[in-house]
């Protein structure tokens, strides 16, 4: 087995890999999107994935791509906040705080949608926005940022996003 930094990081943050795949499968099922193959975790790149049929329906594509992203982000903020307050803000030696921080960062570091889904979403969103699709209009800036980050940083965008959300969101919430 070739231990690349990506694989090592995926191993250390496996709950995030599993959660993203499970959440994506969940949304595929919810929107009747055929899933041809699922890998929840494995020694490859990507470590986990959901191979689904091409999606043309915008809401379905939106939820299948961004649903896992939002769930992972929300869990990242929650767990990192539970860890941040005792460890950083209140200086309480709380072992559970370290566990929650690890869990939160794991979710955050694998929250990013896959490059293929983002590309597909990015190609559909402007057209939908022009047709006054509220979901497309509201999420266009987010999709643009995610798409640009994904193109610019590829794998490292995920890590940077996870670290940023996990560390900065609790700061923003509890140190206004």
């Amino acid at each position: 087995m070739n231990f690349t930094p990506g694989l090592l990081i995926s191993l250390l943050t496996f709950p995030g890999v599993v959660l993203r795949a499970a959440a994506q499968q969940f949304f595929c099922r919810g929107f009747r999107v055929a899933v041809l193959e699922v890998r929840y975790f494995g020694a490859g790149n990507p470590a986990g994935y959901v191979w689904h049929e091409p999606i043309d329906d915008f809401p379905a594509l939106w939820f299948v791509s961004l649903g896992p992203f939002l769930i992972s982000t929300a869990l990242c903020i929650f767990f990192c906040s539970v860890g941040f307050l005792p460890l950083w803000e209140l200086k309480v030696a709380d072992p559970a705080g370290y566990f929650f921080y690890w869990l939160g960062l794991s979710f955050g570091m694998h929250a990013f949608p896959s490059g293929d889904d983002l590309s597909r979403l990015w190609s559909l969103t402007p057209r939908e926005a022009k047709q006054y699709n509220l979901l497309a209009i509201l999420s266009l800036p987010l999709i643009a940022i995610l798409y640009a980050l994904n193109r610019a940083l590829a794998f490292w965008a995920e890590l940077a996003y996870g670290m940023a959300v996990g560390l900065l969101a609790p700061l923003a919430i509890f140190r206004p």
Binding site: A34, L36, L75, L85, L90
Partner: protein, 347 residues
Amino acid sequence: MQTGKCETCGTAAPLNEMYQSGAKLVCESCAKAAGASEGGRMTPAVDPTVCSECGLDNGTSSLPAVADLPFCEACRQTLYEREFPDWLKLGLVGLALILAFAFVHGVPYFRIGWALPQCERLINAKHPERAIPNLITVAKAAPNCEKCLLLLAKAYLLAGNPMAGMQVALSHNHGRFKTTDLFLEVDALGGRANRALKLIQEANGLAPQDKSVEALAKLREARQLYPQFRNWPVIFAEFEMSAAFDAKDYDRLLAMSENFWQQQPDATSAGILALSLACKYAVTGDDKYRTAAEEMLTKGNNLAVTEQAKKEFADYTERTRYRLRTREILSKKEYYLRFPKPKEEHP
């Protein structure tokens, strides 16, 4: 099942056992040979009549395709309703449990996390006394949080309770903190409060030496240094009343005591007014002063809620009753020289 003919060697074989390179169809053995030379760019050919999942042969009819792959009805259904494996279901239950535990575990921290900025806002909005109860809770939960302790010390200092503020600051690492803006602010505030307390002590030392003017100047300087001190009304009132008492000007003493009671109706001002009324009774023998003094003792007794206030008020009561009983006016110092306080017993 469909069959195909290898475009390299001409062999016929089932289509789903053949390979494609672009539009070219080849058999397995030719694919292996060509794969090596073409860098392995061979993909398995797809037979639209054979299910990609279970291998069901649909004869000559093509099966419906999902993502360009043929699937029979049963397999196609499983693609749309793919089950989660049991271990994943268990994992998700575990995650839900961890989430619940984190929530329960985090609630006290969240409360503190929300309370801290609110306390800061209260302090900045000049309501430090309202921030103190929350900050006490925070400091108990996070005794090593320097920010929390400094905020509590600052709130105490700004609320005019310097002793409590200094006690909080000294309780942490012998008063040593990391140098932050908040620390510098509390340090400066504490320093001013400390200098003011020393000046009050000096003024108290000057008062009995008939140096009231110098003592008053020191008190004013102290008040300028630390205007937040909550005892200023009492200190100034007591100082001026003490001057009137020393001058045996009981009318002025009574007027000031009544004024003090009007401004700050608590056990202390009630006790001082009772003593002043007792002075008037002592010099005039007029029962109306005696009755008024007794009324003030009753009022003060009702206002003394805390243990400390009750203890202090008992002292006022004892001296007032002595004055009413004997019509002899003794200063506090004279009274306790004659009737020393019993030493407190410690368990």
